[in-house]
């Protein structure tokens, strides 16, 4: 059936003219067979209206009322709705002219925004010549939880998930990258310039390959004069200067170096090396994570903060709770001014801007300066007596009640849990 809408101006005119003798007949005809009429003449001669039948559902799922007469939207909308919704164009590169290798950090097992920006940059390099497109090859180390590699712009995916790559294993990872270099010889190596991860691995790789890497790259532009066809702008001198140079084979890029891929979906086809990896000689041994005293962690980078304000009365109980929960201590300005907490523990605009994943505010009403300081926290829990305070509005979970009693109950709950776990361990 043709998609072209055929209009009959005369019938539309009749549909608009409520006094026309054929008005209702034409309305019913234009409204379609399935649609129930919104207005009809009842058996007693009265005009009956069904207000729910007025209008039609538009392409976005919103009800539209068309006062012009003919309600012709219903069918057209259904036809269009099937193709609504953002769909990505599928791209499969069968015979790539070259490879751009990317080693994403996969912090927390998922592609970070830094990784996605870097993959966007890799796509920019790969797709520069539409006649001879290159493929983006991503190399992942260790186990990960990422499923949408294709949407990030990855054509080929090589996973190194053996146990030797887990933890801190720069030598094993470098050996794997070298094997990829020998077998596939990518045109460019792109890594995120993050302190532990791409920044370190990329520098090791560059030195091993004998390339002078461009580090802290934040802009890449096409340049016909450069040997690689690209030139880059990189931060130098600890951020004080910009260095402009031709793009080398190995580049370590900063976050927001390019726009992430948003319009295409790529194949992310798995790829393996033809030869097994050689046994790497390791001189660096990972001894595992070390338990850190939460009180010694800098407030700005603490993961879990128990923060106290004016509502806390029993300070010993509060310190005990922080120790039991394993939380870093924070405080509002009032608690610091009153001398209950040291100045370096103050959270907020005049103190420290914190980035905790979980921030528990005990007896803090939430002055705007304090709320600014916790802007970047993921989850905020508020314990407060006043249900109308600003901290409750900000909090993901708010418990209204006496702070002392709730903290005590929380400590008891955590201790009970720990005892249970220990007993289980003893039984096992």
């Amino acid at each position: 059936m043709s998609d072209i809408v055929r209009r009959d101006p005369r019938k539309e005119w009749i549909a608009r003219n409520r006094l026309h003798p054929e008005h209702f007949a034409v309305l019913a005809e234009l409204g379609g067979e399935g649609a129930s009429p919104s207005e009809w003449i009842g058996p007693s001669g009265l005009i009956r209206r069904n207000p729910r039948a007025v209008g039609f559902i538009g392409p976005n799922g919103i009800k539209r009322i068309d006062r012009s007469g003919g309600q012709r939207g219903a069918q057209a909308a259904q036809g269009r709705r099937s193709q609504a919704g953002p769909t990505r164009r599928s791209v499969a590169i069968e015979e790539p002219a070259f490879l751009i290798a990317v080693v994403p950090d996969l912090a927390g097992g998922r592609l970070s925004s830094h990784d996605r920006d870097l993959l966007g940059l890799a796509r920019q390099l790969a797709d520069a010549d539409p006649e001879r497109p290159g493929a983006v090859l991503a190399l992942t180390f260790g186990s990960h939880k990422e499923t949408a590699f294709g949407d990030a712009g990855i054509d080929r995916l090589m996973a190194f998930d053996e146990a030797i790559f887990d933890g801190y294993a720069p030598e094993a990872r470098l050996a794997a990258l070298q094997a990829v270099e020998r077998e596939l010889a990518p045109r460019h190596w792109l890594l995120p310039d993050s302190s532990l991860g791409g920044g370190e691995l990329g520098r090791r790789l560059a030195v091993r390959l004998g390339e002078r890497a461009a580090t802290q790259v934040w802009q890449v532009e096409a340049d016909a004069e450069a040997p690689s066809g690209w030139r880059c702008t990189a931060r130098a001198s600890a951020g004080a200067n910009d260095l402009r140079r031709p793009l080398p084979r190995v580049a370590l890029a900063l976050a927001e170096c390019a726009e992430p891929v948003s319009e295409t979906h790529h194949a992310a086809r798995p790829l393996t090396l033809s030869q097994p990896l050689p046994e790497a000689f390791t001189r660096i041994e990972d001894g595992g994570a070390v338990a850190v005293d939460p009180a010694g962690v800098a407030l700005a980078e603490a993961e879990f903060i128990l923060s106290a304000g004016n509502g806390v009365r029993d300070w010993d109980a509060y310190h005990h709770a922080a120790r039991t929960l394993g939380a870093t201590e924070g405080a509002s300005r009032v608690a610091v001014d009153d001398g209950f907490m040291p100045r370096d523990r103050q959270v907020g605009a005049t103190g420290t801007w914190v980035t905790a994943r979980v921030y528990v505010a005990v007896g803090i009403s939430g002055a705007i300066q304090h709320l600014q300081g916790i802007q970047r926290c993921d989850k905020v829990v508020a314990i407060n007596l006043d249900p109308g305070c600003d901290m409750i509005k900000r909090a993901d979970l708010a418990v209204i009640g006496d702070a002392g009693a709730i903290l005590e109950a929380l400590v008891a709950r955590v201790e009970r849990e720990r005892q249970g776990a220990e007993e289980q361990r003893d039984v096992a």
């Binding site: 600890a238 910009d242 939380a327």
Partner: protein, 270 residues
Amino acid sequence: MSHDTTKQASGGLDVAVLVSVGRHPLTARARRADHDARAVELALGLEAARVRLIHAGRNDPDSEAALRDYLGMGFASLTRIDQPAGADVLPALLEALREAAPQLLFTGSRAETGEGSGLLPYLLGEALGWPVVTGIAAVESVEGGTATLLQALPRGQRRRLRVRLPALISVDEAGPAPRQSAYGPARRGTLSAETRPAETDDALAGWTLEPARARPKRLKIVKASSARERFKAAAAKAEGGGGQVLTDVTPEQGAEAIFTLLKEEGVLRH
């Protein structure tokens, strides 16, 4: 009493620290580089170690004042390998290090002037054949040809590493805060100059180094296909709000709710 006299008396571990001339981020004056000063502080914290400072660079009054800041941390002397401006210091440093043959070599993670790519520790490690470990916050022990180190991870976490000596340790912001430089020892200390062949860095000379431009702010791009989506994107509130509020609960119920959230987020350790 300066530190290295006690350390020289006891002998033991041979440690070298590579130091550079830094640049103050606001005043742009020459100073001791922050990461390098932290590396010096870390080396000074070692038990029974002979610590020596090595610098390769230009010989001018500004850098001498900055180098004396390192001497003020408790050293009697500093080895300065004189190199002309624009020289590649790697060959000279390699030669000096092969002669000195320290067991542990500390560096900052990157220079504060020039290219500042942070490649030097890796280049040295590769050329000397030593393992390189980065972001070290503390040295726990050095015994039996193995150093046990603590590496700084994000969020204040630490990871224990064991590395075989000789090794190269690079230090960044996570290193211990450097002690204040004392004026008297800084004046009294000597800068002993060494002359080694210099190579010019031709590649760097061909690139342009200019004051950093502000990076453009990323715009929020709304790819809306319909008027409704555009309206939603424009009218969306910055903060969702709508958290769960528990009123009229016993402290135990409130504590249980908080405990569940802490468990879900995985911040409670056992």
